[in-house]
Amino acid sequence: MLILAILLVPVAMTLLAASVSWHPWVGWASAAASAAVLGLGVALCVATMKAPEVALHGALRADSLSAFMVVVIGTVSLLATLFTPRTMSQEMQSGVTSARYARHYVVLMEIFITCMLLAVVSANLGVLWVSIEATTIATTFLVSHRRTDGAFEASWKYLLLCSVGIAVAFLGTVLIYYAELHVGGSAHSSSLDWTSVMSVAHHLNPNVTRLAFALLVVGYGTKVGLVPMHSWLPDAHSQSPAPVSALMSGVLLTVAFYGLLRFRAIAVAALGTTYPRTLLLVAGILSLLLASAMLITQRDLKRMLAYSSIEHMGLLVIGAAVGTPLAIAAVLLHVLGHGITKAVLFLSSGEIYFLEGTTEIAKLSSLLSRRPVLGGVFGFALMSLVAFPPFSLFVSELSMARAEVDAGLWWVVAISLGCLGVIFASLTRHARQMLTGTPSGTEVGATTARSVAVPLIGALVICAVLGTVSWPLQSLLAHAAHGAMP
């Protein structure tokens, strides 16, 4: 019941937004829909602590891992949709968009959110694939929303690269299906259903599973933004409207990562830990290395945030490679913390772009003294991003490092810390450029709209609370981590 309700809310909102013309209240309604999804997600978390929920004759299934992902999607989409009315009115003011495209925007946002929710609550690994691919098509139009040359180019690259990547993931899924079909030498009935695949996972043919998992890492890895399939990511993130970037970076990447987590469990059951771990470690470390190199010389604020997403996805994949219950729990906490933090950063960068007319780092300065609230939010969010305590990313990165040490992967901790050090230094340098300095203009101490400040500050406070008292989450995370265990 709960699962169906979670899907029906954004579907109803899609229909509503499609049937009426644009008005700010449509934007507020879509924020209310996201809040409802978040509330239902929390209820689903409570319900799945006892047993997984099933709906539609087993077509939909949610365990704690799915429920946790619903909460992450709900939280980040609430933040993003709260900015819909403001972003649209800003864009209409500056002539970037019209009422017609504003309506398209809300409809596509809701379809996008529905597809992500379907991906995490579908019981079937094939449907998971279909819904992740469907997110690509919905977001393509959101990336090109501003209809500039750059936006069209970014969405073209995004759609082409992700379609090719996700096609590879389809081949991997088919191979898993093939292996499931021939478990024990004879042909079985097979369905790609998560529970039935897991029940025979130990007997899947190792040769087939090995190839399948490699294809899945490449395929879903493209969508996660792992190096070397990442090249769409900085373009798409920098060209989209800020709330779209927030959703893409905050949850879309991690929904694809959720797919990887599920398939990792299958691969570990069939092959043992070594092979999946090696593959994931290579992808994760490459991403971390490239991101830290690219961040040093970054000139654009939104591209800087995009490369930082690649960095965090690298960390998540390394955590998944370790794969102990502690590591997975830390990874999930990181997914939530990163989602919220990145959403705050992208949304405030959208506000900065609106007010300053640029996202070039060199052209921004003295934000803290000119716009204390906005600059302050941005500064604190950057501190959260580089894992300052008390923010939750500090706790999750620390726990991941601990899990890596427990697994005997000292060298991985060393490399990660090295990269994180470089990233810390470059982000601090960029932040100093943007935030400090003496203002030259007259608009010292300009006030920031309350509709901007309240949600962003609230989100940062939640991040800090999650980092200091983890009581509401501890048992949930431990329980959810089991969903990603063989």
């Binding site: 094939g126 469907a134 090109s144 180019e153 040769n207």
Partner: protein
């Protein structure tokens, strides 16, 4: 009867690969699109023959869908793009045509090597042909990487997708119908959207932008 089945299946799978290699050879976009249309029909034939042999109604449905989507609609959409862009020849591929054909031959050998361990799990007349599907995927990738024009890149994407569809049919007689439907409609949507983006880009600026997309970089 069984030999007819094998012969038709082999012919259809062979036609898929041959048309893939032909797209590397031909430079004229119109003839490349005709090759894609032929490939779609061959792919649908393979699905229908398999469905007939396995008495699988779902495969018939899939075959019909593939015939409509990949044999007719997708090539039709691409023809519109070709009309829009009159100088539609692949002028400067990163790898020239003779070298591309040699590499295609190497890719075919490679696909036989990598798939042998997969097909040994369930040897049959159908799985024996899986390397042909894998080779089509690899040729598609090669096209994506080495061709610069936007249309050529879409063609590469379709080759990859058709190759994967062939592997799916041969290996497992098709995945569950809902997944099959999802993936077929997906290709259609992707091609339509890519086409839409190309049209928008052309209206927005001159055609030159279509070949060299260089507005975004670090």
């Amino acid at each position: 009867m069984n030999t007819t089945y094998v012969a038709v299946l082999e012919l259809a799978a062979g036609a898929v690969l041959v048309s893939a290699v032909m797209t590397l050879w031909r430079r004229n976009v119109r003839s490349i699109i005709s090759m894609l249309s032929l490939q779609g029909i061959a792919l649908a034939t393979a699905a229908i023959v398999l469905g007939w042999h396995e008495h699988d109604a779902a495969l018939f449905v899939t075959g019909g869908l593939v015939l409509v989507v990949k044999g007719l609609v997708v090539p039709g959409v691409l023809r519109r793009v070709a009309r829009l862009d009159p100088r539609s020849r692949e002028s400067r591929p990163l790898v020239n045509v003779p070298a591309s054909l040699v590499i295609a031959a190497l890719l075919i050998v490679l696909s036989y090597v990598v798939t042998s361990r997969i097909t040994s799990l369930a040897p049959s007349d159908a799985t024996r042909l899986v390397p042909i599907g894998v080779a089509t995927v690899l040729v598609g990738y090669f096209m994506l990487v080495t061709r610069r024009r936007a249309v050529s890149k879409i063609v590469g994407l379709i080759l990859v997708d058709n190759g994967i569809a062939l592997v799916t049919f041969l290996l497992t007689s098709g995945v569950p119908l809902i997944v099959e439907l999802g993936s077929s409609l997906d290709v259609l949507l992707v091609v339509v959207v890519l086409q839409f983006l190309m049209v928008s880009m052309v209206h927005h600026s001159d055609t030159e932008q279509l070949t060299e997309m260089k507005a975004l970089h670090d």
